[in-house]
Symmetry: C2
Subunit: 298 residues, 2 copies
C-alpha cells in the first residue's frame, strides 16, 4: 500500500524577476520528497503558478516553506500586476492524487492554513476546505482583492480562518483550499463565431442540464471559437464522452471540432478511458501499460 | 538520462509443479534491480512464460540465474507436455524498452547466449540476434524440437552458436533472441465465420500489401471469429490505425467489430497515440500524464 499523494498548485505574486522566482521555487524543492511538476511565470500578470506533489507531510512542509519564501521575497506594497491578487502567496489549492480523497486534501489545507496564518498571512479556506457556504467559491473569496482587505476585516462574515487580527500589508491574504483533480480540455471549432462556442457550452455543461461534472465556456482564442472545458469527475464524464457531446452539439450548429488541447496534466486513467472508449477494449487498466507495470512492480 | 531498460520474456518447460516454478522465479527475482512483470503457467503445455525487466546488467544476470535454475530444477528426459519444446529453458527473447535499441537487445542476447552456453545448453540465436538468415525465424530454429536435436547436431547449417559440442539431454537447447516490443491486439467480430476473419487479416496485414508493421491472422476464439494482430512498429501502424482498417475491411464483409482485447502489455505511447488519434489532440505526450510526470520529476 503506497502512501497517498497530494498535489499543490499555488499562485504567487511574482512573475517578472527570475532570481526571486528561482529562490522561492528552490525553497519548495529543498523539502525532501517533493517533486516539482511545473512552473509557469507570467510577466504581464506578475504572477507564477507552481505545481508540486508528494506525500502529505512533504506537501505540508513544502507549502509552509513556500509561504515563508513569499513572505521574505515579495513586498506587495511595492508590487504591481494585472491580476487581481490579494496576497504575496495568493492562492494555494490542494488536490488529492493517488490514494487520497478530497476530505484528506481538505484536512491538509486546514493544517497548512494554520501554519501559514502563524507566518502572518490572513488565511481564507475555500472550496472543499471552506468553513462556510459563502466561502466555497474562490471568486467570492477573492472579491475586492488586496485593496479591499482592510474593509473586509471589518465584516463579521469575512473574518479570516487563520492568521493575525490585523493585515500585514507586505503579505496580504491567501486563499487555501482543496478541490478535486480536474482535467482542462478545450475543443477548437472550425468557426470564429464565439456565439456558437457559447451555445455548445450551454448544451453540454452540467449547470444547464448537460453532462455531470462538466464545466464549459465559449471563448475566442487565437481567432478560433473554443469550447473550454473542465472535467471535474472523470468517472461521471470522461474526455471522449465530453468531446462526442461537443461534436454532436457542434453539428447542430453547422460547425465541427478541428482540434483539441489538454491544458496541464491528465491522469493516466483519463487516457485509458479514452482508449477503452474508442477501441472498444474489453479491458485496459494501469497494469496493462508497460511503464506503469514497471513502476508498480515489486 | 536514465539507463536503457530491457525486457525478457523467457519460456521454460515446467507449468505444473508450483514449488518448482516458484523456486525458478525466486532465483530471477533475487537479482537486484529486476522487476517481475508477469508469470503465466500452463499445465497442459507444461510450460511457463515469465516476463521481467530491468537495466542491462540486471537482465543479463537474471537470465543467467534463470538458466541455472532451469538446469537445476528441470530434467527434460523425465518431462512431458504438449508444447514442442526443445529445452528446459526453451526460448529467451530480449526486447528493448525505454532508451534501448534492437541492436542493444541483440548484443545483450549474444552476451547471455555465451553465458547460457557455458552452463551446458545448446544455444541458437534468433531474430535480430541471429547469426545467419536461415536462423532468424523462431519456427525454423525450433523445427524438430527436442527429439530432433541429436540429428541437428550432425547438420553443418545448424551448429549451435554457443554451448557444448554434445547434447546434454536433461537441458536440451534454447533459442536466445532479440525482437522489437510488440503489441498483441485482437478484434472480435460479430460473426463465427473464421473465413471472414481470415479475409480481413489478409486485407490489413503487411505481408499481403496492407499496413506496415502489422501481422494478422484469422482465428476462432470462444465461438467468435477473431482478427488476431501483432503490431511490431507502432510508429508505422498504431492501434487506432490498425483497428480502423479492420473495421473498414469488416464492413466490406458485412461484419463489424464487437470488442477488442489487448494481450499482455502495451507501452504508454500506444495509449497516447490512441487518445491523440480519436480526440484530435494537438499534443499529448508522456509529460502530460500526471503519473508519468510524477515518476519522471526530478
Amino acid at each position: 500500500m503506497k502512501p497517498p499523494l497530494f498535489e499543490a498548485v499555488p499562485n504567487f505574486s511574482e512573475g517578472r524577476d527570475d532570481d526571486t522566482i528561482a529562490r522561492i521555487v528552490a525553497d519548495v524543492r529543498s523539502v525532501e520528497g517533493i517533486r516539482i511538476l511545473g512552473l509557469h511565470s507570467d510577466p504581464d500578470h506578475n504572477r507564477s503558478v507552481l505545481t508540486f506533489a508528494g506525500e502529505e507531510t512533504a506537501v505540508l512542509e513544502a507549502a509552509v516553506a513556500l509561504a515563508e519564501a513569499c513572505a521574505r521575497e515579495i513586498d506587495l506594497t511595492a508590487q504591481t500586476g494585472e491580476h487581481p491578487r490579494m496576497g504575496s502567496l495568493d492562492v494555494l489549492p490542494f488536490v488529492p492524487l493517488e490514494g487520497a480523497t478530497l476530505d484528506d486534501a481538505s484536512r491538509l489545507a486546514r493544517q497548512v492554513g494554520e501554519r501559514v496564518g502563524a507566518i502572518g498571512f490572513l488565511v481564507y479556506l475555500y472550496e472543499a476546505a471552506a468553513t462556510g457556504p459563502h466561502r466555497r467559491n474562490l471568486a467570492d473569496v477573492r472579491r475586492g482583492g488586496y485593496d479591499g482587505l482592510a474593509a473586509r476585516l471589518e465584516d463579521p462574515l469575512w473574518q479570516p480562518d487563520y492568521g493575525p487580527r490585523e493585515l500585514d500589508p507586505r503579505k496580504g491574504a491567501v486563499a487555501v483550499g482543496a478541490r478535486p483533480f480536474l482535467v482542462a480540455f478545450n475543443a477548437y471549432l472550425d468557426t470564429d463565431d464565439i456565439e456558437v462556442a457559447r451555445a455548445i457550452a450551454r448544451m453540454v455543461r452540467e449547470r444547464d442540464g448537460g453532462l455531470p461534472g462538466l464545466k464549459a465556456l465559449g471563448l475566442e482564442v487565437g481567432g478560433r471559437a473554443q469550447v473550454s472545458m473542465n472535467l471535474t469527475d472523470l468517472q461521471k464524464t470522461s474526455m471522449p464522452v465530453a468531446l462526442e457531446a461537443v461534436r454532436e452539439a457542434a453539428l447542430e450548429h453547422g460547425a465541427s471540432v478541428e482540434s483539441t488541447e489538454l491544458v496541464g496534466l491528465a491522469p493516466l486513467e483519463a487516457v485509458l478511458q479514452t482508449a477503452r472508449h474508442y477501441l472498444g477494449l474489453r479491458e485496459l487498466d494501469r497494469e496493462h501499460v508497460l511503464e506503469a507495470a514497471l513502476w508498480d512492480a515489486p
